[in-house]
């Protein structure tokens, strides 16, 4: 976007001094510069992966779910695992933008825009999986309760219908929240742009001018939206967890699931935020805005939620033993020492043990280390869902029907495709929308006052 303000110097003179309003505007808008070769290479890679995923799904649609590794009684596998994984990822976005807003914790401003983008795209990704895991995906719309000639509505007793409501609500609300937050920033971009872009951003900003009247109502609206998003984010993953907790499968049927899943979701989400912000910050030279202290705060959240998750694991095993229920006991014994021991121990290592490193400030403040840990967190949280779903189903009430499942290539292809789908949206977004909140960034800065030296 050559028609935008000139980019800042590679290395600002006073790097650690807080930036001024003008610098903020310029630095952030600079991220919308026309992308380079690396960007397009990455995009090409992502699109290729997406295409492969799409092919895998087409193949599955044509021949049936037989192409997957499903092996009764394991009727759910990598798809539901990945679904829950992405829903989990989605959570930290709303957590950071909404909950931390209510708590007025300052460090959110720098990271929340990226986190929110991540949220929306993660939900968009997660939403695909309940559909493509269906035996008859072409009838997926039947789960929506709409008047139809079949005369039958959907069964509101089914947790899957709760999912439909929870996920679609979550997508709508988080997308709205993102859009609202963008309005003043897009207006700022509009005022720096020329030509057709000015028109485009003009539309996107709804003609926002930043007048006292606008700010007055906007502030309230934003607050209430945050107020809604907060219980929503907690409910969504609770509902997702009830897909399992409401079933009578040993290893699923537990009251601990809702809080356990929410904690896990925030854990994985913050992990993913770190994974995304580190390269973003580097590529866009946003060191002055996304500071190490921000990463440290994220790391602290990870540490907290990791501890909750670890505690939940312990509780699960304890309850299985303490309940004396033979089915629960057998299920959890096989989880730890059965044929899926490898998955379980990957999960425990990545989610319970490795995050303990975050007790050390050195680790929390070393961005590369955090990046590596965040990768482990992502892997670990995918496996957490895999362990819960697959080991639970593999070792149920009927010993005669015990079985073993490993995903087959179409499933892995679709898993890869989902990451590419997510990345595609994210890559597009960071080039068209400010990935750091301009207005709120300024809000956090000291305002220019009389008598200050003119910087």
């Amino acid at each position: 976007m050559a028609t935008l303000a000139t980019p800042v110097a590679a290395a600002p003179v006073h790097a650690d001094a807080p930036p001024t309003y003008a610098e903020t505007t310029r630095d952030v808008i600079a991220t919308l510069q026309p992308p380079g070769r690396k960007y397009f290479a990455g995009m090409a890679l992502v699109l290729a992966g997406l295409a492969f995923g799409a092919f895998c799904w087409g193949y599955q649609l044509r021949y049936g779910l037989g192409v997957t590794g499903y092996q009764p009684p394991i009727f759910w596998g990598s798809y539901i695992t990945t679904f829950v994984f992405w829903v989990g990822i989605a959570h930290s976005g709303t957590l950071i933008s909404a909950i931390l807003l209510l708590f007025r914790s300052g460090w959110r401003t720098a990271v929340y825009r990226a986190a929110e983008m991540m949220t929306v795209f993660a939900v968009m990704t997660a939403g695909l999986f309940p559909i493509l895991h269906l035996g008859r995906a072409w009838y997926a719309y039947w789960v929506f309760p709409y008047p139809n000639f079949r005369g039958v509505w959907s069964n509101f007793r089914s947790p899957l219908v709760w999912d439909v409501f929870a996920i679609s609500t979550y997508l709508t609300v988080s997308a709205t929240f993102l859009t609202m937050g963008l309005i003043p920033d897009v207006a700022a971009v509009r005022d720096q742009a020329r030509g057709w872009r000015k028109k485009l951003y003009g539309m996107l900003s709804f003609g926002w001018k930043g007048s006292d009247r606008e700010w007055h109502h906007f502030g309230r609206m934003y607050l209430y939206l945050a107020g809604f998003a907060t219980p929503l984010v907690l409910s969504v993953h609770s509902v997702v967890s009830w897909d399992f907790a409401m079933a009578i499968v040993p290893g699923w049927h537990a009251t601990i699931f809702a809080p356990y899943f929410v904690a896990g979701a925030i854990f994985s989400g913050c992990g993913m935020v770190i994974t995304i912000l580190v390269p973003l910050r580097k590529a866009f030279r946003l060191e002055r805005y996304i500071r190490v202290s921000h990463f440290e705060s994220l790391a602290k959240v990870c540490l907290l939620t990791a501890s909750i998750v670890a505690y939940a694991y312990a509780t699960e095993f304890f309850m299985a033993w303490y309940s004396g229920n033979p089915f629960e006991r057998a299920s959890f014994y096989s989880r730890a020492f059965g044929q899926y021991w490898w998955a379980t121990w990957i999960m425990l290592t990545c989610n319970a043990f490795i995050p303990q490193l975050l007790w050390f400030k050195k680790v929390r403040t070393s961005v590369p280390t955090l990046f590596v840990i965040s990768i482990f967190i992502n892997i670990g949280m995918w496996f957490e869902r895999f362990v819960i779903i697959v080991t639970g189903l593999s070792h149920e009430y009927e010993p005669w029907q015990w079985s073993y499942y490993v995903p087959r290539w179409p499933e892995l292809g679709i898993l890869v495709g989902s990451f590419c789908w997510f990345s595609m949206w994210f890559l597009l977004a960071i080039k068209f929308l400010p990935s750091v909140a301009i207005a709120e960034m300024k809000e956090a800065l000291p305002p220019p006052l009389k008598g200050e030296a003119h910087r």
Binding site: T20, Y21, A22, T25, P145, V152, W153, S154, N155, F156, R157, V161, W162, F165, A166, S168, T169, T172, V173, T176, M180, A187, A188, D191, Q192, G202, M203, F206, G207, W208, K209, G210, S211, D212, E214, W215, H216, H217, F218, G219, R220, M221, Y224, L225, F228, P231, L232, S235, V239, W242, I438, A439, E440, K442, E443, P447, P448, L449, K450, E452
Partner: protein, 168 residues
């Protein structure tokens, strides 16, 4: 050129803008407008607006959502009663989930709608006295009124420390 409808003062300093607003109010100006890149509490205090009515809409929306959720679940279940797992046709616990989600959904959408309504958005086209710098690092105060008032406003703005004062 015709007589100016208003005069805008461009401020580089927050406190200057606040001062300008304060003196405008002191002079009993009714018709003025403030542009700012960020919402600052200082400005809000100076303007001393009364509570935004968005919250009323929010509450109404939320309540409608709740009612709709439960009504929908119950009505559709009764439309063709099918027993599953021996559970009652109207099973409240699961319906709470539905009611909750619709509360949030409709509540937030109505809130956003209310904001657009009250803030008079979308407002495409130009606003009098608006300057692109107001979304960057400058504060703008626009005063409207008769020639005499405007002349007075110019002096006020300069006195408050406006970097630039111009007619619109």
């Amino acid at each position: 050129m015709s007589a100016p409808a208003g005069v805008v003062g461009v401020f580089g300093r927050l406190d200057a803008a606040v001062e300008a607003v304060g003196s405008l109010k002191a002079r009993g100006y009714a018709n003025y407008r403030v542009y700012s890149p960020v919402p600052r509490p200082e400005l809000a205090d100076a303007l001393a607006k009364k509570e935004s009515p968005v919250r009323v809409f929010t509450l109404a929306g939320a309540l409608c959502g709740t009612a709709f959720g439960f009504f929908y679940a119950i009505a559709t279940s009764l439309d063709w009663p099918l027993i599953t797992g021996g559970k009652p046709i109207i099973s409240w616990p699961p319906f709470v989930v539905i009611g909750f989600e619709t509360t949030i959904l409709i509540g937030s959408l109505v809130t956003v709608g209310a904001m657009f309504l009250l803030a008079g958005l979308p407002k495409l086209g130009r606003a009098p006295g608006y300057d692109p710098r107001f979304s960057d690092d400058k504060f703008g105060v626009v005063a409207f009124g008769g020639p005499a008032q405007l002349a007075e406003a110019r002096d006020l703005f300069r006195a408050a420390g406006a970097e630039e004062v111009k007619d619109v």
